[in-house]
Symmetry: C2
Subunit: 468 residues, 2 copies
């Protein structure tokens, strides 16, 4: 067979086997591998075992290896020769919690194909996209290659962890420990999105993430506002006053030094971005909004990709049940996260936030802080070899030029791959903005899953042909 | 017997019977009559039936009467003559919810006598003070009079409701419906506090209460902050920004018109108040604070009694579980209450608050409001006849001049008594600031209970001797 006819045979195999691919994804989606909740630890183990057993059938030597937390799967291609380019594919089998459960239209761990309101076929379940659906596009592509050609076209190691949704802290130690076993020429990650439904994308920059929890404490007990109201500090009042000042009237973040090191996007890139015509109509209207909420002197595309942001992700204090209670609580807390861009030092940002809060505390109040994430932004090397190969392959599959884009999201592991394994990462994914990841009714378009598998089939072929 | 020796006999009877009085209070405290939670509706009925049966033994014709909510107890003295002063005693058998349960040192509905850290004997249970303990001081005083003298010294009607802690909305309708049965010369209420542990007090003004809930809505679903952060409105950010601006740097409330109609305390009263020497040391140190949090140009005693206040009693939005979730929620909400003083119109304050919030909403956000309370402040008539009699009786019992004080709390029913029954109310109570009412570990000093009963014995005698 010529290379071209072989590639076509593998693609045909993907199409012929697609119904079975969906059933295999469903089997994975039925496992309740919620990493944040200790009650699901056994489910996480089950997901790792399930993946190890499945990947073993594709010609890999697979192991479930312990970490400090949920286990990781490591799979090494039996046909690895050492002469070919060697890729390390990374994914995660863990998923986000499902609350609020009452907003789901069907049970989150009973996957099904459903009809989207606009007629698209979608796969609905927790993890349908993030990351079980996405990592399965790669595994199914390997299956098709193995089935048609008897082997994979490149050397391959697969690693799938179970703690991405809780910060990968144990996995970073695992990487250090197993770095020899995980050596490769570059990493492949399928945990990002398309530009839009028809336009594939490779993500070349990721925002960093500083995620802090702040707890304000005042009196040593809950108080009755009739007796103490007016005289005693109210930690919710203190918290709202401090958090309410984090943005000025123009949407700029007011923490001193926050923008230190932040660079403007080069004018030529900005010109390209303007042509993409990302509008409030296209981006915000589908979620019921109409006005960009970020810095008023920036384009919407800058607000969501190249500019650092601050969001309050959670807040709680006092009485939150039905009706009323005239309480002044002893404490109140909030979860505050910052998306960082290239040039910002996460430790400095964390310290600046803590100093900002502390400077605004009344003398009678204390603040405590918890560090949930502290990862820098990542700018990938646009000149990395596999990138051009992947761009061609994606363009071939989708019939539309693949875009190189900056993502607003954070995938901290990419920095760890560079630091620990000294590899660059190619970020290709098939998520859409309306996939409701981390929310009720998470979905993955059937088209994303199908053409995602086909895309990886082509990328693997292109990587085989490209220099290491 | 002379009147004096009869009074002494009744007081002796209180002392001799005190252990039994405590046991009767315990029986009432064991009933879980939480009015806010429908799961305890049967317990509320049981508390009403229990009180009706007990009060019947004191020479009253008692009935449990239905209301639109939990029932009320109405008891009419069998010895009422029509020639003597006729008092209407009011109390409530319902109690606040007990959450957070894990902060209680013992089960909230298993009352016990305990030792306070400073050596005081205390009765610990939900309702130990508010209002089961307080109303029991009056009922036990009646029991002692009945036991020694065979009859009460004045004409008396007792009414005990079950929805004070949820706003008494049904009880106000009940008052309208039964106003003939409840006719009296004045009302007595035991739901207020002492000045301090040794100094009795009669409350002559009460702050009003506007209690609002505000819900801010932005996108039509929860969003991932990696994708939308920076571009989409975050309702927690909007809420904290609005609530964080409710006070200025000097602790003044910034809502336009908020202080309209508020009068300064007369200079001579302020002079008296200054002599009381209410300090941060005495008032705030016991709860772990040191600096008055109210208007910086006002005395602490003004901040907590004669000045209107604003407190955020609860706030919630986004992810509030353990760890982190990078969500931008669809909505966030807060419970905000205002303590009002004489001269402020609660409806105007409510409307001004709503206008304040609405004016600060980004165009993409909506605000919804719930009205939980809307009651004016009350200034009682310092010249009302029974007041002087009660002041003498309290001074006799405690050996220290009873003070006439303004309370920071709200007892909206007092305004309804005036409006519907055309009676003034005498507010006498034996609560202390550290009773933890509405909080875990509610308590009532044994001394408050014991001398409270003795105080009412003396007040009943003094009212019998005073003009109607």
């Amino acid at each position: 067979m010529t290379e071209t006819s072989q590639l076509q045979s593998v693609l045909d195999r993907v199409d012929a086997d697609f119904d079975a691919s969906v059933q295999r994804l469903f089997a994975l989606l039925r496992i309740k591998s919620i990493s944040a909740d200790a009650a699901f630890a056994e489910d996480c183990k089950a997901a790792a075992a399930h993946l190890a057993a499945d990947i073993a059938t594709l010609g890999f030597t697979t192991e479930v290896r312990p970490t400090g937390g949920h286990p990781a799967v490591v799979a090494r291609g039996n046909g690895n020769t050492g002469d070919r380019p060697h890729a390390l594919f990374y994914g995660h089998y863990d998923v986000q919690p499902v609350d609020p459960l009452n907003l789901w239209h069907r049970p989150p761990f009973e996957p099904a194909i459903a009809d989207h309101a606009d007629g698209r076929k979608i796969i609905v379940a927790r993890g349908a996209q993030d990351d079980k659906g996405q990592l399965s596009t790669f595994i199914e592509a390997c299956r098709a290659w193995k089935s048609v050609a008897g082997a994979l076209p490149i050397d391959l190691t697969i690693v799938i962890e179970g703690e991405e949704e809780v910060g990968s802290k144990n996995f970073v130690a695992f990487l250090e420990q197993h770095k020899r076993d995980l050596a490769a020429d570059y990493a492949l990650v399928c945990d990002t999105g398309m530009w839009d439904r028809d336009t594939p994308a490779i993500t070349t920059s990721l925002r960093g993430l500083v995620y802090e929890e702040v707890i304000i404490k005042a009196a040593d007990r809950d108080l009755h506002s009739g007796i103490y109201g007016g005289g005693a500090q109210n930690p919710i009042r203190v918290l709202t006053r401090i958090l309410g000042g984090l943005h000025d009237d123009n949407g700029h973040i007011t923490i001193p030094g926050f923008y230190d090191g932040v660079k403007d996007v080069p004018p030529e890139v900005l010109e390209q971005w303007k042509k993409l015509n990302l509008t409030a109509e296209s981006f915000l209207k589908p979620i019921g909004l109409s006005i960009p909420a970020g810095e008023t002197d920036r384009l919407l595309i800058e607000q969501i990709s190249s500019r650092p942001t601050c969001d309050i992700n959670g807040i709680v204090g006092g009485y939150t049940g039905e009706g009323s209670k005239t309480v002044i609580p002893a404490h109140a807390s909030a979860k505050v996260s910052f998306r960082l861009v290239d040039g910002q030092d996460p430790k400095k940002i964390r310290d600046a936030f803590r100093a900002y809060v502390t400077a605004r505390l009344p003398k009678d109040c204390k603040a405590e802080f918890l560090d949930h994430s502290n990862a820098p932004a990542i700018a990938l090397d646009w000149g990395m070899k596999p990138l051009a190969a992947a761009k061609r392959a994606l363009t071939d599959e989708w019939g539309k030029e693949a875009l190189l884009v900056g993502s607003g999201a954070s995938i901290p592991i990419v920095a760890d791959f560079k630091r620990i394994l000294d590899v660059d990462t190619l970020l290709v994914g098939f998520g859409l903005d309306d996939d409701n990841i981390h929310s009720p009714n998470e979905k993955y378009d059937v088209k994303s899953f199908h053409k995602g598998i086909r895309s990886w089939v082509r990328i693997l072929a292109a990587l085989a042909a490209a220099p290491k």
